[in-house]
Symmetry: C3
């Protein structure tokens, strides 16, 4: 991308102070800017950077008053932070999601319909009887099985694997090498010590505006559906087992695992490397700290939890503080025992 | 799939009570059934569902006596649970593993032999001098290196990567994006602080009836073989390091990791997110709780373990119970110290 | 590979004792050797094996004095261990990284330049305006986006996904299904409880001699670069979040996760399943035990840490030892309370 400072000012409905024709090719943090960068200053805590920045242009609030000379061209807007975010989003559209057309070879099965717009990369595979919406980007080496539905504006990155019968909503982003709809982990023990596979015949349903990070796995239901509700954001390397349901707008950080049949509420926030046992229910707005283990139902909404097994965050922090003084505690107990023995008997 | 209730009754050697020509297109839990579904009732704890179900047909035990009117057609069999399982398995064969033939483009290297039956999807790759058995399903974008052996009836799902010299037995299922035979993590520290790669020249041997979940990784041995014995079931996102050996019928849940050269016994059950250190031996029938850490040999068979590092499950549960009372314990010690000071001196 | 014992002796600058024409086709541990194997004996702790080994040849130190009859042909060298390592490296070059040429179909975008030598497997994809060095091996189904740079001698294994604008140095090894440059996990909460995606517009920079294990994910920076310095070794299923920087020669074992914007020093050693919080700084030469949680800056260099949250290893081991005696400690406190009550009042 290369725009002039003037074009950006027009885009952001801002006023320019400096060189209208300045060429901008990059967005940078104000402390990392170089010639050709545009940055922003919203929080005056970082004001000193604006007097030293090498960025060619800086977006500032209309109310900003410089205390020293500034070499960068300024673009004054109502709200510098949201203007910069708007610029980031424009820039993303131009540089990240700009693919179109069909590259060959790519495979489309019989009975599959594909909407207008969109992109299909080389070595991508779409099975039979699928319904693919408009403006869907399917990157190279992505795989879509049979009877899959994908909504409008959804992006399937390189190497994504979508099993048969999966439903994916509109405006989802599924990142590279994600696997959706693989078999749930269900085996029935046999008298001879071996296990018999329990067929996994359900599917996965993903609603709109869901984001799923690279190499994450979401298993199909044994029967029925594993369900990811609208607006859920899932990070990389997360495991979602069969028959799980995740409520609207819940956020799940990397390497967390949710075991079979658990029901997670809306607007929960799960940090990284958490384990959630099977068949538990977690209430709305539950927050869970990193590496915690949730082994029971969380019925009250809005709790902050931590630890294995989870307890309330503030109790967990107190326990952890004592934990590191355990050897000292043991010495104190021993000392008490000695004193008591010496003094009483 | 669409069968009549009569066809299903014949298949299950059952007797029909109701509409012989009823069309069945789906298997459902009794509480989730809709028109066209078939369900089952085995445990009378769930009996109330049969009077309310929308399923068109329900499989019940021969001995079942209805206490109210039932709208669904009944199929009476000796054992409703195992009849339903049998139906699931039939259904799975029909709807899940029904691919055949060869899609193009797909790659087969010189000197490779492929048995009869089976399926090779588009963009699948098989290297040189491989021996692929009969009825092997190789999904799109799967990769098989050189000198690989794959037994009869094995399924390699989309995007699976099998490195050179791997041996895979009969009737295994390897799910999407699994990596088998990648380099073990071995580096020799050098005097200048850098590391020199220790070549990893062994392979992976997987016996019959093994299941490996999506995005799991199994490294090749440094020399010799990493070995997964018959009937082992491995979930998604599991890490098996170089030179590990896993005994017959052991089950490993998601996100567990087993470090280099450890030997795991038969019929063990490992929950999710467990870490097992390198060079340890774990006895047969060991059970380990989720998020535990096994850092030493487990010599006695059949123990239930938990915690980091693992101790016996019942001891671990007691310790965890006290753990959350630690702040209170500390206060009690302080109180004792005060009392002793006040009273004795 | 098939070499004679004589050829190997010449290669290693050693002296042969036995059959010069012996055919060697395999490298084995001395206790696992078979006819056709070559092994080594360096540590005399394992001396007994040399009298029983079935290996056809054994590399020994010049100074080795046999105490019994040995059936294997001996190759005497200055240092048996490093000679064997040298042989492993030669063998690796011959058997593991021996691909060349271009298989079709494979995709190369406009404006991309590819150096001499090297390999491109079938169904591999290279985007536009990339610069690929000499002797780069790109295995089947690997994906390289636009504007990517890959240095000389680097290996991209099957199914690797490299996003746009990534820079990879010389002599790196990226194993199967690794994802580099996927979006960082950044979302801004909105008043209605939903989240707005923060565009991730930075890239990933990987310096020379870096190794990245199968199914690992490294996210691009929000702005700027996620940086993996020279000589870093990363195991399988590791998560590196956006804007992380990892110092030279740091080693990270499997299933560890490093959250956004953290800066890791040089020559650190991280065991498996560790979690490192976002925005922390970890000093050079820090060692962290398996399953630990690093939730704060580690400022002093060279510490050995363990636990969640991490404390010094020796303190952690003491605390863990007491942890399993917690129920006993609680009983002792109760006993003290009773005694005090009985005796004082």
């Amino acid at each position: 991308m290369e725009l002039t400072a003037g074009q950006i000012a027009t885009l952001l409905n801002g006023e320019i102070e400096g060189d209208n024709d300045l060429k901008i090719s990059r967005l940078s943090k104000i402390e990392e800017g170089k010639t050709g960068s545009i940055s922003f200053l919203a929080n005056l805590k970082y004001e000193s950077f604006i007097y030293e920045t090498e960025s060619s242009a800086v977006i500032v609030n209309k109310t900003f008053e410089a205390k020293k000379a500034i070499s960068a061209t300024l673009i004054r807007v109502e709200n510098a932070y949201s203007a910069f975010t708007q610029l980031l989003e424009q820039y993303e559209k131009i540089v990240k999601y700009n693919k179109s057309g069909v590259e060959q070879p790519s495979h489309v099965g019989a009975g599959t319909s594909i909407g207008t717009g969109g992109y299909r990369g080389a070595f991508s595979y779409i099975g039979k009887n699928c319904t693919i919406g408009n403006d869907v980007l399917i990157y190279p080496q992505a795989y879509i099985g049979d009877n899959v539905r994908v909504g409008n504006g959804t992006v399937l990155h390189a190497g994504v694997k979508i099993y048969d019968n999966t439903h994916i909503g509109n405006h989802c982003r599924i990142f590279a090498n994600v696997v959706i709809g693989s078999d749930g982990f269900g085996f029935a023990p046999q008298p001879d010590g071996s296990y018999r596979t329990i067929p996994q015949l359900g599917n996965v349903v993903i609603e709109d505006h869901v984001s799923i990070g690279a190499n994450t796995t979401i298993d199909c239901a044994t029967m029925g559906s594993t369900i990811i509700r609208q607006g859920v954001k899932i990070d990389n390397l997360v495991q979602i087992a069969h028959n799980v349901e995740i409520g609207k707008n819940t956020v799940i950080a990397s390497q967390t695992g949710i075991a079979g049949s658990s029901k997670i509420g809306e607007n929960c926030v799960f940090a990284g490397q958490i384990g959630i046992a099977g068949h538990v229910t977690v209430a709305n707005r539950t927050q869970v700290g990193a590496q915690s283990g949730v082994n029971r139902d969380i019925k009250k909404e809005g709790l902050s939890l931590n630890g294995t097994p989870v307890i309330q965050l503030k109790d967990s922090l107190r326990s952890l503080a004592v934990l590191r003084r355990l050897p000292e505690l043991e010495r104190r107990i021993l000392e008490l025992e000695k004193q008591l023995k010496d003094n009483i008997h």
